[in-house]
């Protein structure tokens, strides 16, 4: 039994008939072809699937597409463009905040949302703010620096 929903993703309104059990992350990736949002676990731990829903960082593997009905979702594809990168994206590039890049979209979304809450976070606040995001490559240090760079840049 499919259910009609309408979700705004990166500013575009999508009307879709979805199975009630379809996860938001699968709607984004498999239906809307926005594959920048990644899946790294099925237990809401890794944060690779983090997107911003109505201003909140949300793990898109933990909510159903139908729960996003009427919501506005921003994914990594909607954050910045190559010519006009979001400061957090720029920070990741400048400070080598990524290696394999798999955790990166989720990290960047979590980092961007963190800066929305705290405009000049300390290193400690950044580390705690990223508690929901795992990276196996970078050891996090350059990610902390990337977000600090973005914070100073945004001023």
């Amino acid at each position: 039994m499919k259910k009609a929903i309408s979700v705004t993703v990166n500013g575009v309104v999508h009307h879709q008939d979805v199975e009630p059990r379809l996860l938001l992350v699968h709607l984004l990736r498999d239906v809307l072809n926005l594959t920048g949002t990644h899946i790294g676990c099925e237990t809401s731990i890794c944060g690779a699937c983090t997107v911003i829903i109505d201003g909140q960082a949300v793990k898109s593997c933990t909510i159903l597409a139908v729960q996003a009905d009427g919501a506005s979702v921003t994914t990594i594809e909607g954050l910045g463009t190559e010519a006009n990168l979001h400061p957090v994206q720029e920070g990741f590039w400048e400070h080598h905040g990524l290696q394999c890049g798999y955790c990166t979209p989720g990290m960047i979304m979590a980092g961007a949302q963190l800066l929305d809450r705290i405009s000049s976070p300390t290193a400690d606040q950044i580390r705690h703010g990223l508690e929901g995001n795992l990276c196996r490559c970078t050891g996090y240090q350059n990610i902390v620096e990337a977000i600090q760079y973005a914070a100073s840049k945004a001023k």
Binding site: T43, W93, H96, L134, G139
Partner: protein, 769 residues
């Protein structure tokens, strides 16, 4: 060649796509008409399969096919093991279980359906009757366990091996003290953030199979899968697209890779399988898994006389690609950075009802380093000497290189004292010791740990590797002057698209952005070995240097012809060949070479060169890590309050990338030292089967890492590089454990096995047994 890029902190060229979420990992690739595969996996560690009923699953909505071991075992060859050792027992390893299952997660059946949800639903409809058997779990007891996993072998011993040189009995007998210790290297899960995944497409007319796989070794995989499927290797194309981390877990050939290819051929439709994290922890290779006994002899002045390590190595139920070879790497590196006249390692490798172990970042060397670095600390404690002093007394001097060890290696170059002194200075070691003494008086539990490590990289000479240790590179200057580099290495986060472009840009005097580094596609790139063993830059980068030299020679001859001059009279600088006020750019040369209207009669058109590099030796990076830890009396929590690392990986192409490798490696070490452990219970159930209970370190668990380098070039390759991919995971673990054992020495602690979880430490400091 002017060095404009090499040695600089050049921002990565791979990043723009990745920070925008525009890279393509396997699961991001979609083909028309694509089907999805899900696996039914064993929930028992050891059981006989008495029956499998797939009829209900076959009729479930969306299901296209269901395959069991019966269907495929005679059609698809064995999952390969590339390691060769005397008297090695190699079990029959089919892509799906047939009569028995051997570990939790063992694949039993594959369901193919129109979408992922349907495939997973249908898995639950397959009915398997099992007759449960006792599980062999304990590594030390496996050899004598009356339950035999592979019955026809008669016991659970995969092989026994004695290695090392020198008279170990005499060496230990001549010691003033012999320190003994049992030591456990717990099983770990590599946890690349991107799980494995395969997409397979077969074109029946062309008879061409393409596999997109999240792999570190596309070429080796192509060879092996072609053999498994019995298809011509030149009709199989393997593509490693964007790969989301490997750490050795994708340096393998897996059952699923061949099976997906086979299914695509049966159905003539594309099929995709994306591993879930639960499957990843159950059935992607594990790392470590050794229980060993150390005996180390020393003189009263701290000189080491000999080292014996008797070890039980956990193979798991089957061999994967390199499973049996991993403990042999431990044996090679047991000498650490010390002069030890006699070393012996006695390995008993055993089968257990668990997933296979294999090359997880460091692959056998972290075990060796942990053994020798813990042993050096135990010697220091026994002699009441400073651990730094004991190490110093046993170092070879820089003049003693190449340095021969009693494990049969020749270390290429090193300055161990140099790295140690730099780290001591950065950490202000003598002050740390004073602060520690003062803090102890205040009731604080503080420890300082040191490890001075050496590791083996740039794997390696072909004679010492199972499938070739060389690497290849092709450089082409296209008619428009853009440069294409094809490398047989297969980076998956290391950043060689950038570092190789740096090397090529400097050599050819072209802009970095005019270079494309292509890798990971067997239809495009000449045969290569892949990225593992910290080899890509030292071996693959060297092949690139050789190819660039050859290409420059060719270009010089074309240029001389165009300028009507002798090749020897030409200067090549900043991408221009010049003589006598005349000049021609490399781009112009490339166009002329392709148009071929005016080229020397004895030269072929086009401008490209392919070279292979066969290293004569491994390289041996080294360094010193110093850690300060503090244990919370009330919670047993450890805080690492200082972390200093001085690493020497020879010459450096891009310091930023090197630091990134070290950061990541150290943090994986912190994971091993403090948090991570794959726990199987007595029945062989994997208790830590998700990221909820397998504790990968998070940002807030990690201290600030203070890094520096010393630079001792390697004589093994013209770049002078050594490799750095695994250094952090090798050097860091013992430094952390040493610091915590040091912190707890007032409590009578001389050794602790990892992971050093709060519960363990709390019990010690609160005397709760």
């Amino acid at each position: 060649m002017a060095e404009k890029y090499v040695g600089q902190r050049v921002k990565r060229t791979e990043d723009p796509r990745l920070i925008q979420g525009l890279g393509h990992y396997v699961d991001d690739i979609k083909l028309a008409d694509m089907l999805h595969v899900a696996f039914l996996r064993s929930m028992y560690a050891h059981a006989r399969i008495t029956s499998i009923d797939t009829s209900e699953a076959l009729h479930a909505p969306g299901v296209v096919a269901v395959y069991t071991g019966q269907d495929v075992s005679s059609k698809i060859g064995q999952v390969p093991c590339g390691a060769a050792l005397p008297d090695l027992k190699v079990p029959d390893h089919r892509v799906l279980a047939t009569d028995k299952v051997y570990f939790v997660g063992h694949p039993i059946a594959a369901v193919v359906a129109t979408d992922r949800y349907a495939a997973r639903d249908a898995i639950d409809l397959i009915i398997v009757d099992y007759e449960e058997l006792p599980a062999v779990i304990d590594v030390e007891g496996a050899a004598s366990n009356s339950t035999v996993i592979h019955e026809h072998f008669g016991d659970n011993i995969a092989y026994k091996l004695t290695a090392g040189e020198g008279d170990i009995e005499a060496a230990l007998a001549s010691a003033d003290h012999v320190v003994k210790q049992r030591l456990v290297h717990q099983r770990l899960a590599p946890i690349a953030m991107e799980p494995r995944g395969v997409l397979a497409r077969y074109l029946p007319g062309e008879k061409e199979l393409t596999l997109w796989s999240s792999t570190q070794i596309p070429h080796l995989m192509r060879t092996q899968v072609a053999i498994m499927l019995g298809i011509p290797e030149n009709k199989l194309r393997v593509i490693a697209p964007e790969v989301g981390g490997g750490f050795g877990s994708k340096l393998n050939v897996y059952a699923e890779e061949a099976l997906l290819g086979w299914i695509a051929m049966q159905l003539a439709r594309p099929v995709k399988w994306i591993e879930t994290r639960r499957e990843n922890i159950q059935a992607t290779i594990h790392g470590r898994g050794q229980v060993g006994y150390i005996e180390i002899g020393c003189k009263n002045d701290g000189t080491i006389t000999g080292l014996r390590y008797n070890v039980f190595a956990d193979m798991g139920a089957y061999h994967q690609l390199l499973t049996p070879a991993i403990p042999t790497l431990t044996g090679l590196m047991l000498s650490g950075c010390y002069k030890i006249p006699a070393i012996q390692m006695n390995t008993t490798a055993v089968f257990t009802n668990k997933m296979a172990t294999d090359a997880y970042r460091g692959a056998g060397r972290p075990e060796a380093t942990h053994v020798i670095e813990r042993a050096m600390d135990m010697v220091a404690a026994k002699l009441k000497m400073d651990p730094v002093e004991v190490r110093r007394r046993n170092f070879p001097t820089p003049e003693e290189f190449p340095f021969k060890t009693a494990t049969g290696l020749f270390y290429d170059s090193g300055n161990y004292v140099g790295a140690l002194d730099k780290a001591l200075e950065m950490a202000d070691y003598s002050k740390l010791r004073k602060d520690q003494a003062a803090a102890r008086k205040d009731g604080k539990i503080i420890g300082v740990g040191v490890s001075t490590y050496v590791e083996i990289c740039a794997i390696g000479p072909s004679a010492a590797t199972p499938a070739g240790g060389w690497e290849s590179a092709t450089v082409r200057v296209e008619p428009t002057g853009k440069v294409t580099v094809l490398t047989g290495a297969s980076p998956h986060g290391q950043g060689q698209e950038t570092s190789f472009a740096q090397i090529a840009a400097d050599a050819l005097g072209v802009d970095l952005n005019d270079i494309a580094v292509v890798h990971g596609d067997t239809a495009i790139v000449q045969y290569g070995i892949g990225t593992f063993g910290s080899r890509a830059t030292a071996v693959g980068g060297t092949a690139l240097v050789l190819a660039l030299e050859e290409l420059t020679k060719k270009a010089t001859r074309f240029a001389a012809h165009l300028l009507e001059a002798e090749p020897e009279s030409l200067q090549f600088e900043d991408g221009k060949f010049s003589t006598d006020g005349k000049s021609v750019s490399i781009q112009e040369v490339a166009l002329a070479a392709h148009l071929a209207r005016n080229i020397p009669a004895d030269m072929d058109p086009g401008l490209s060169a392919t070279r292979f590099f066969e290293p004569k030796n491994f390289t041996f990076p080294f360094g010193t890590h110093i850690v300060v830890s503090e244990i919370d009396r009330d919670t047993g929590d450890v805080k690492l309050t200082k972390y200093v690392a001085v690493d020497d990986c020879g010459k450096v192409i891009n310091p930023m990338l090197v630091e990134g490798q070290i950061h990541g490696g150290i943090v994986q070490s912190i994971g091993q030292a403090l948090y991570e452990e794959l726990v199987y219970d007595d029945q062989g159930q994997l208790v830590t089967g998700t990221l909820m209970d397998y504790a990968v370190p998070k940002a807030a668990m990690i201290p600030w890492l203070e890094l520096d380098r010393t630079e001792t070039p390697s004589p093994v390759n013209p770049l002078g590089v050594k490799g750095v991919g695994e250094a952090g995971t090798i050097g860091a673990t013992p430094a952390i454990v040493n610091s915590i054992v040091d912190a707890l020495s007032p409590f009578g602690i001389t050794h602790l096995d990892m992971p050093l979880r709060p519960e363990l430490l709390w019990k010690i400091v609160n005397n709760a047994g």
